[in-house]
């Protein structure tokens, strides 16, 4: 009897494995694989997310991965495959599969035969209904460039803020919050390197130069298991690889900054490079006006340099090197007082990647990544010199495998190891011969993630993406315990945390243009950044999980209905989510920012929850295209050390958030763009009154975040003029005219309360003021391109 039960259990287990892996032992039909890369015909750039579909059975298809590779396994036979990609002409391939087959494909941009392009767009839109992934948006940079932008500066981070579930961290700010998550809960990747501070100019511009970017993917919920380390979202940005056929120069001249990008082949069809730079100069322009004043020499600018080099050794081996180097430089000079300071900060990243194809079903990528974020302040007056620095540096090694065992399964598994070095605020001061310094030591940690995911078709109408991530984080020495005084030697383990993070997404097809999707993700975050400000500042520092600070943990549930209309011309979705967050970190009400204290000693810990509904309507085809996104949501936090654990709305709780984005092509020469945004007013903690102590009126406050500013709304317009759209000349140019905040809405940026005493009358006036920073702002940008072809 026991034996029989054991046999039944074994059979059930085998069936389960077969179901989960989609491998059916009953199917003895011989199968072969067609695989290869899909590239842009003109530049040789690989195309991410291109579709390869069997025209005889649309259910048999594959999508290219981040490196443009696809693998499609079919039974032996004769097929007609169609290769398609948004904005490109379809290409058909007739083949008889009698063995494994490698087929690299190039696609041409589809400006001429629009009907074909439409079918490609349709395939892309079908993913809305067909893909298992929820809350995922892909934004090709060409689409972003058509939208109006403040000062004409096209910015990918500001564009994603227009999507439902994504909020801007403030007026004109590139910082973002996703589905009630904090600003540190977004994993921002540039060619796989983590970008720890994605903002320039206190966040008004992002560090991503649109000319150097190929593709942007935002995953705002249910992140697959190959991503980890953050609770809320993933923003995965890929840089262009460089044209491997012709030299190309493009750039733009704007009011605030200018850009220049050079790309071309090193060895034609085998190797290419791209170098892209950007620099602002608005304060440089006012330098003559500062001459002779008490601020002579004061300046501010930022710059970025992106570069990428690649070499194709063979169809099986390709090497990439990409790097980013960017800095903000703020110099303050007050010669009359002999007072000066420099405040530079910036990111550096370097990624070396090796793509290797073991065979037509097994793809591997090995990445070695270095990234570094530094913040510095060097200032002083006369003999007094004050220095402060902080930062974070990672050495990261990743091995990722993608395996295509049959046309029903895509398996992904891999390992990711990072060594973190975190520099807390380290201050030193010299006054003549006297020196003092804070005695904070760098903190070190190992972080590891192991993952496995399987995307498979369980039945004809049910697709599943199941995965698990096992994560571990180990604080290591040298370190002296704050709790016990114990000394830890180099690499000696101080504290270890781990996480088991299952992820699951399902897609149930209810009709050809209708599906129901649902998902769940458990996530763990070991690095934290807490800001006491209304938005993240460059001086805010990342801190690791330690014996004092526990990892943040989160679980998100989401479900949605996805429907396409009018032959996939219009895609719509309705998603709901609920998020439960543990070990959330904040500062107490009476926190004082003091560089002589380690921030982790000032933290308080609590919990959070967020829930909401997102409505999305998108039209991608036709002269008029764009989308409408609306989010209804709440985001709450509770900390036992803040008002006794009362649930209060987080500072980024904005119940209503609406974005309308539209592009209209008037003619071949003129494109119009418009953006309208409406959001519930920002929360703030109101002043309840004043009290008199120390001959001053001092403020006291009501409950945290218990009042709101006026609602935020704004309309931006743009017009792009391309004088010679059909020019075959090597040189082409276009003008973009933008109006930010067209009807000059005075959106409050912040409010301030102050007292003013009149000694003559003995009266004191208590004043509140509302500060608006961006009125109507017109801008003009000239973009140009030179192509050797």
């Amino acid at each position: 009897m026991r034996l029989a039960l054991g046999r039944v259990a074994k059979k059930t287990l085998i069936n389960l494995v077969l179901l989960l892996t989609g491998i059916s032992g009953l199917n003895a039909q011989v199968k072969y694989t067609v695989s290869g890369y899909v590239r842009d015909a003109a530049s040789g750039e690989t195309l991410i997310g291109a579709n390869v579909i069997n025209t005889g059975n649309a259910a048999q298809g594959a999508t290219t991965n981040t490196y443009g590779f696809y693998s499609l396994t079919l039974e032996a036979g004769t097929y007609r495959l169609v290769y398609s990609y948004l904005g490109y002409k379809d290409k058909y391939l007739d083949l008889t599969l009698t063995s494994n087959y490698t087929q690299n494909i190039t696609l041409d941009e589809g400006v001429v035969i629009e009907e074909v392009v439409i079918s490609a767009e349709r395939d892309k839109q079908k993913l809305n209904v067909e893909g298992t992934q929820m809350g995922t948006v892909e934004l090709p940079v060409e689409n972003i460039k058509k939208l109006p932008a403040i000062f004409g500066e096209v910015d990918v981070l500001k564009t994603i803020q227009l999507l439902p579930g994504v909020l801007s961290s403030g007026e004109g700010n590139a910082g973002f919050y996703v589905r009630g998550g904090g600003p540190d809960q977004n994993l921002v990747l540039l060619d796989e390197a983590v970008v720890y501070n994605a903002g320039h100019m206190l966040g008004f511009f992002s560090v991503f130069n649109s000319d150097a970017i190929k593709n942007t993917i935002l995953i705002k919920g249910n992140m697959p298991a190959n991503y980890g380390g953050r609770l809320s979202s993933v923003l995965d940005i890929q840089m262009k690889e460089g044209n491997n056929k012709h030299f190309e120069v493009e750039g733009g001249i704007g009011l605030v900054s200018s850009r220049l990008t050079v790309q071309g082949p090193i060895v034609k069809d085998k190797s290419s490079f791209i170098i892209s730079g950007r620099r602002t100069y608005v304060v440089d322009l006012v330098q003559p006006a500062l001459k002779g004043t008490n601020f002579e020499g004061t300046n501010y600018y930022f710059y970025d340099l992106n570069t990428k080099w690649n070499y194709t050794f063979s169809d099986r081996n390709r090497l990439y090197f990409s790097g980013y180097f960017g800095n903000d430089v703020f110099k303050f000079r007050q010669p009359g007082r002999d007072f000066a300071f420099d405040l530079p900060y910036g990111n550096k990243t370097a990624t070396l990647r090796w793509n290797h194809l073991f065979n037509d079903k097994m793809f591997m990528n090995v990445s070695a990544v270095y990234n570094d974020y530094r913040f510095r302040f060097n200032g002083g007056q006369d003999d007094f010199v004050f220095k402060l620095h902080s930062g974070i540096r990672d050495w990261n090694l990743k091995i990722d495998f993608e395996n295509y065992p049959g046309n029903r399964n895509v398996l992904k598994y891999g390992v990711n190891y990072t060594f973190h070095t975190l520099t807390p605020n380290t201050a030193s001061a010299t006054n003549g011969e006297v020196n003092f310094a804070t005695n904070f030591k760098e903190k070190y940690a190992n972080e590891i993630g192991l993952y496995f995911t399987d995307e498979f078709k369980a039945t004809k109408d049910l697709s599943v993406n199941a995965g698990i991530r096992l994560s571990g984080f180990q604080q290591v020495g040298p370190y002296t315990s704050k709790l016990t005084g114990q000394e830890f030697g180099t690499f000696e383990s101080v504290k270890f945390y781990s996480g088991i993070e299952p992820r699951l997404s399902i897609n149930l097809r209810l009709a050809s243009d209708l599906s129901f999707k649902s998902g769940m993700a458990i996530t763990t975050q070991y690095l934290h950044l807490v800001s006491n400000s209304s938005s993240t500042l460059p001086a805010d520092i990342w801190v690791p999980s330690t014996e004092v600070v526990k990892p943040q943990r989160g679980i998100q549930y989401a479900a949605g209905i996805f429907k396409n209309w009018n032959n996939d011309e219009i895609e719509t979705s309705f998603e709901v989510y609920y998020k439960d967050l543990r070990n959330q970190i904040d500062y107490a009400d009476n926190y004082v920012n003091d560089i002589s204290k380690e921030v982790e000693d000032e933290f308080v810990f609590g919990k959070g929850k967020a829930y909401g509904a997102e409505f999305f309507v998108k039209k991608s085809r036709g002269r008029l295209n764009g989308w409408i996104g609306y989010t209804l949501s709440r985001t709450l936090r509770s900390f036992s050390d803040i008002e006794g654990g009362r649930w209060y709305p987080a500072v980024y709780d904005r119940p209503h958030d609406l974005s309308v984005v539209a592009n209209y092509k008037i003619s071949k020469k003129w494109d119009l763009g418009a953006i309208f945004i409406y959001g519930t007013g920002k929360l703030y903690t109101p002043v309840r009154g004043f009290f008199f102590v120390d001959q001053n009126l001092n403020l006291f406050y009501g409950p945290r975040n218990s009042a709101r500013l006026d609602p935020y709304h704004r309309l931006d317009l743009s017009a792009t003029y391309t004088p010679k759209p059909y020019s075959k000349k090597k040189y082409s140019g276009s003008w973009t005219f933008s109006l930010y905040n067209t009807y000059n809405r005075k959106n409050p940026f912040f409010v301030n309360f102050d007292t003013e005493t009149d000694f003559q009358t003995g009266s004191t006036t208590i004043k509140g003021s509302k500060i608006t920073i961006f009125p109507i702002i017109p801008s003009i940008t000239y973009n140009f391109k030179w192509n050797q072809k």
Partner: protein
């Protein structure tokens, strides 16, 4: 904080460049009961003030407080007592309008008011007979009954750590005939956390605290440490960056240097930070009060005062 201020300078510059605008803002005020506010000190050491407590009411968000409204804030007829560990001492109510002018002016100066502000009639609670034993290491419990509410607070007078080696030097930057910078030294005891607060004044004027009036010894614990001691100025006065923190040559000045306990430090630290913050990047800072049942501070000081003349050039 300095970094935040630097960021603020940057944003201010950018705001000007972007031609931003500022408008009056009247928030939706919450109707709430007025809080009772305590401001009381107990001091030990050379130049220590008598023990006194001011009881007032908080002001709801209104636009203007004139002299009449201001006088109404101070609570008369409260019961205020202090326990020094041995005995309870009931403090006596002293309304300044009842005092002779010369004494009144002196009391105003002690309370930190300008001498000409004597038009304001306030009542304070004072240990007139100096019955409390004021000494280092002792803890004092304050109990207040006012307007039907009971408030209480504890404070201690910590050991005194003094200043020495007062040095005058040329101010940084452009040479000045009239201004001087003061540098002083302190020898901080090791192994314990010390908290310091100071006030400055010129002869005949009140003592007032600088914008950042407190510090702990986090950066100089157990060390002999030299630092510039800044001349204080009123928060609501005209700010002149050229003379900020500098003393005027030829003036007679007073420096009151004090040692305080942790909760007393927390009050001033959060108060100064709250008052100095502001702008787009500031979150609010709730002032940490050690008064149970109300707002304000009950603070013990161990003090010494240093009187000197700023040498002419």
């Amino acid at each position: 904080m300095i970094i935040k201020q630097c960021c603020f300078v940057l944003i201010l510059g950018l705001t000007l460049l972007m031609s931003g605008c500022e408008e009056p803002f009247v928030p939706e005020t919450e109707v709430s009961a007025q809080e009772i506010v305590v401001e009381g000190y107990i001091e030990a050491g050379p130049g220590a003030n008598p023990t006194y407590v001011i009881i007032s009411k908080s002001i709801p968000f209104i636009s203007t407080v004139n002299a009449d409204k201001f006088a109404e804030l101070f609570i008369k007829g409260a019961s205020v007592s202090v326990n020094d560990g041995n005995k309870d001492v009931q403090l006596s109510e002293l309304c300044l309008s009842n005092l002779p002018d010369n004494i009144k002016a002196e009391v105003y100066r002690t309370l930190g008011f300008e001498p000409d502000s004597s038009a304001i009639d306030i009542c304070i609670y004072v240990d007139i007979l100096d019955q409390l034993k004021r000494e280092v290491g002792r803890t004092y419990k304050l109990t207040v009954m006012a307007e039907g509410k009971q408030l209480s607070a504890l404070t201690t007078i910590p050991p005194y750590v003094g200043l020495f080696d007062f040095k005058w030097s040329e101010p940084p930057g452009e040479p000045s005939d009239s201004l001087a910078e003061l540098n002083v030294k302190i020898s901080d005891p090791a192994g314990v956390t010390n908290y310091y607060r100071y006030l400055t004044g010129s002869a005949g004027g009140p003592l007032i605290p600088p914008f950042t009036s407190v510090t702990d010894d986090a950066i100089f614990d157990g060390k002999e440490f030299e630092f510039p001691l800044q001349r204080a100025e009123r928060r609501d006065g005209d700010f002149d960056p050229e003379s900020f923190g500098l003393f005027t040559r030829g003036d007679s000045i007073i420096i009151k240097w004090t040692c305080i306990d942790k909760s007393h430090f927390d009050f001033w630290n959060t108060r100064d930070f709250s008052a100095n913050s502001g702008g787009p990047f500031s979150s609010y800072t709730r002032i940490a009060s050690n008064i149970k049942g109300g707002l304000g501070v009950w603070g013990g000081y161990s003090v010494d005062t240093y009187r000197m003349r700023v040498p002419p050039k």
